[in-house]
Symmetry: C2
Subunit: 284 residues, 2 copies
């Protein structure tokens, strides 16, 4: 695996490969890699000749009271895992590479509010603009044919898809499946903040989402009732609920009767970390 | 000259040429072409193997009270001129190609306020975001190696340069020289709104800018005095002044003593149209 430490290196090496007709897949990450990320890398390998992974903890997508400084940085272990997976290039930009004039003095790429101000966006103002801005920059440097984003961050996947379509970027966006711990908890770098007791409890988030899914599949369309019930259960289990929503997958608007493609999405704090999870539900 | 009517056509044709190692220069326009545009095309031809011109009147960069609907559309004449100049491709996107969900429901690309809220940006809120958004989309479709923007719209050139740098787009931005009528008036599609009497008077804008330049080059650093005097002269000549500014070329902040790279920039209405012009001043 070759390390790309700066933009010029990355552009030169990858341009040469593209000139040779190689197809490039890109997996942007913030590092602290786990099975979830490695699954995205697997998918990337199936999609292309060359796999590029980036590790960059993007300051622009963290709020002032969020965990930017505390975000776990485990480069050596990450790098080993990616080498083992047969990744071709690891791009490690610095803040100076991405935001040479400082993140406050930087061009932004912003998807419409109706996609970004709800669900995770409601409690994280500016978060998705931070995400789309950095992803746009990374796309312009790497110029991949295809990029993989995990479905755990379903809204993020949708927002990036929308940016890519709206700006006519010639990049295919692929959603990667959610990887889970044995108890069902969605894998996340932030799970590292959980004690082992909390980790057991954290699995209830998944269980409550699945129970809601089963109710919907059984024909229950009283979505507000289902949401109220799920929130109550989460609170009883010691979660502080950020949101528990049943929305349409295409525009993330609240689902109504007769909608067929739904997403149950939830975010809740358990102790220190804010956990998120979701489940697509397809009705006939 | 080949007409590219849609995105897929444009992408396929131009990608094939890039694969062959051809260097592509791009000149985005809003049509109603005059000598100024053709000079940009000349510069483009010197820079690359293939020249692509686009004609698209971008609704996103017009304010609600501006001349979007009235903006002159002269495709047949434009097309003939570009053929005569030996342009290779003319890209003619529709609103549906650029803003398939409508311009209100679209991802935006926004350069920082300190570059976009002054000079022309002060009286045209949202204008430069409209420009950077459409240019970003056109760049992503055409994927040129180099793009040419006229220096008449000096702030636009700077804003596009900044966007390109900030987003790490691998595109060289070249400024094209201002073409002028015999009387000194900068060529502009909007000159067509002027009567012949107004056209004579319009040349005073240039004359007053040049007089100011001479004063500065002679050592006058009382910029606010020079500005006041120039505005007064313009008003005496029947202009309604939008701005007359002496700024630094690098950040468009008001120039102060000892600044060496200056821009005199002005915008003023004469009858119906709002005319703009500028002059760089380099001091030793």
């Amino acid at each position: 695996m070759q390390i790309l430490n700066n933009k010029t290196d990355a552009q030169q090496q990858l341009r040469a490969l593209k000139q040779q007709g190689k197809r490039i897949a890109f997996v942007p990450t913030m590092g602290n890699l786990h099975e979830g990320h490695l699954t995205l890398v697997h998918q990337a390998k199936q999609q292309a000749d060359i796999v590029v992974v980036s590790i960059y903890v993007n300051p622009l997508q963290f709020g002032p009271n969020e965990d930017y400084s505390a975000y776990p940085r485990t480069l050596e272990k990450d790098s080993q895992q990616l080498t083992n997976e047969g990744v071709d290039f690891l791009f490690l930009p610095t803040n100076e590479t991405i935001y040479p004039r400082g993140k406050e003095h930087h061009t932004t790429v912003k998807v419409i509010d109706s996609l970004t101000n709800k669900l995770c966006g409601a409690s994280r103002p500016g978060h998705f603009t931070g995400v789309t801005t950095v992803v746009n920059i990374l796309f312009n440097i790497i110029q991949p044919n295809v990029a993989i984003f995990g479905k755990k961050d379903f809204q993020q996947l949708m927002v990036i898809r929308r940016m890519t379509e709206d700006l006519s970027l010639p990049i295919e966006i692929v959603g990667g499946d959610i990887m889970r711990e044995k108890n069902g908890l969605a894998m996340s770098s932030r799970n590292g903040y959980l004690s082992s007791t909390e980790k057991d409890k954290a699995a209830h988030l998944r269980a409550i989402i699945i129970a809601t899914q089963k109710q919907i599949e059984a024909g229950d369309t009283n979505f507000s009732g289902l949401i109220r019930h799920a929130k109550q259960q989460l609170e009883n289990d010691g979660f502080k609920v950020d949101y528990f929503s049943i929305v349409r997958t295409d525009d993330l608007e609240p689902a109504i009767k007769n909608d067929k493609q739904l997403l149950i999405a939830a975010a809740a704090w358990l102790g220190k970390p804010r956990l998120i999870d979701n489940q697509e539900v397809f009705l006939k």
